[in-house]
Symmetry: D2
């Protein structure tokens, strides 16, 4: 059910969360059948798709028109009709959503604190936030938020996945950029 191969997504030129990171993100988000999930900076929609196969409703927030089209195409390809795409730059677009169980943040456009403040008001005890950080400034800003805001317990990991590539009779390690995954649970 979880862990769709990268090649199965319609991609274009929009960067996509790699399979292993997607798996860890979705599992750490602990998505349940009845959950409402927000995917912020949804990109190709790969996280939205994986989430929508488990959750009741997924809202994908994305500002890039090219990416929005990819999310639509992927939702259709995977036969999912529980994804609502919001064409906005978060935190815009979040006000209309009243109750959030899970927030996935793949891109925050430099507005992480505002986004966290906005979703926090819509999250009850037990709700989860999972942030995939590719910049160290985002890591530091997110950790600062969760350290100052005592309503959360959190953990964070940096993951680096090297793919073994078979070349001739040999296998070499091909690197992918490391990602930091921060998981916070509202107390």
């Amino acid at each position: 059910m979880l862990g769709i191969a990268d090649e199965e997504f319609i991609r274009g030129n929009v960067p996509m969360t790699k399979r292993e990171i997607r798996i860890l993100t979705i599992v750490k988000a602990d998505i349940k059948r009845g959950d409402v999930v927000i995917d912020i900076g949804a990109g190709t929609g790969s996280l939205s798709i994986e989430a929508a196969r488990i959750a009741r409703q997924v809202f994908s927030i994305e500002r890039n028109p090219e990416a929005i089209e990819l999310i639509e195409q992927n939702a259709e390809k995977f036969n999912l009709n529980n994804i609502i795409i919001i064409n906005a730059e978060a935190p815009n677009g979040l006000e209309a959503i009243n109750k959030i169980d899970v927030v996935l943040i793949g891109g925050s456009g430099g507005k992480l604190k505002k986004i966290l403040d906005t979703v926090d008001k819509r999250m009850k005890s037990g709700s989860r936030i999972v942030i995939n950080c590719i910049t160290i400034q985002t890591i530091v800003e997110a950790l600062k938020y969760f350290n100052e805001n005592k309503n959360y317990k959190y953990e964070a990991i940096q993951v680096q996945v090297n793919q073994l590539q078979h070349v001739g009779d040999f296998d070499m390690l091909k690197a992918a950029n490391p990602i930091c995954i921060i998981t916070a649970t509202k107390i």
Copy 2:
């Protein structure tokens, strides 16, 4: 359902697959409701436990008496009665199992080729093998097997997870040993 916290397992001194590796292993194994899973070198049983919450039947093969006791305790703690523990050194103990959907190999005691030959006869098209390698010799031996045996397609990754640790006002990265996860599917 997937991704039990490390602390929840009863452990003792037996080494245990860390949560992120466990998550990736179980997802890559693509365990389905009706599946029969073999966990070879089961250790504390952490992979067996995660597998047994999804699969129909799990056989945990383990030679170390201390580890066997931990598997029993963990199966009880997590209320799972679909785990059968086989006190043997694989490939011993595998002959009695006729049909295998998934093989998880956490430890092979230097007998990887014999183990693969034995399980291969009991696997049909579409069955999966996931090997967690901590030594480079095991990686090379496993890749050799899957390259020579044309009945499998496979992929392999090296994963390194650094935990962010909060110390005073700072967060530092605490390393864990890298693991290689090899996933092979019988054609």
Copy 3:
């Protein structure tokens, strides 16, 4: 000349920069025969020792009495009489030094900006600063400084070294924590 084995240093319980990181740090610092080097947060003095074998003069700044004793012992062991130990918490202790060619920062005690401001006044064009960061907050603070202060060009790497350990007939990778090395050159 460069790259003393870790075991050769007298250590005690003070954390020590590992050999590979020490090598990269000293080479990136581009220490020359006539140079004056400041080693801030000198710890066991391992960087001071390596630097003093090349440079004209090394000032080791350290606040921990146990560490100071180790620096003294190591300077004696390696027959170096061009190391002056300053028992202070940087930026204290830096005012007396007029001309600095190289600054090595292994520990900044949360006062990185003050330290950089203080050494900057004593550095001429072409002088180098190399910072070993183990916390992500220090990385972000250092990069912020070099991005805002247009008098520097810089580069930064995260290095992770896994040691291959021979166990029985096998070799496994044993991880060490990743370190970020930031190298800045005054324009």
Copy 4:
């Protein structure tokens, strides 16, 4: 003296050892003023160049004509006349060299054992071999050699270097493939 920037080398399309790996390789090789160094699979000659700035004589063995031209051009650019290029596929080309202090192996073309057997006869006690492995089969083969041949003590590390890249106001980690550096000293 050591640690030439990657951009300073004339490169073409031939793969080149990255600066950090080059630094660690040369330091671990412990090259001294009077040494004779063999660089096997010399590629662009970046290791040969760094070695020739310290050693008495460097022999660069390379089979690819495009690479040989690059070595010549780089030797000229860095004003080094102590590099002799041998157009051969090692172990061919090694017979003429009687006394070897340091062997650098960047590429072995699948003939590592033969190469090691050949250089071994030309190395005296205290001589060093440093192998940069990009495939896991080469790691295993090299370790097997040094474990079976009791005339060597060795150590091995896997190094992964992520470059911090400044994009907008942010810094992200850009991965390079991990390399294994094996250092063996003849007893």
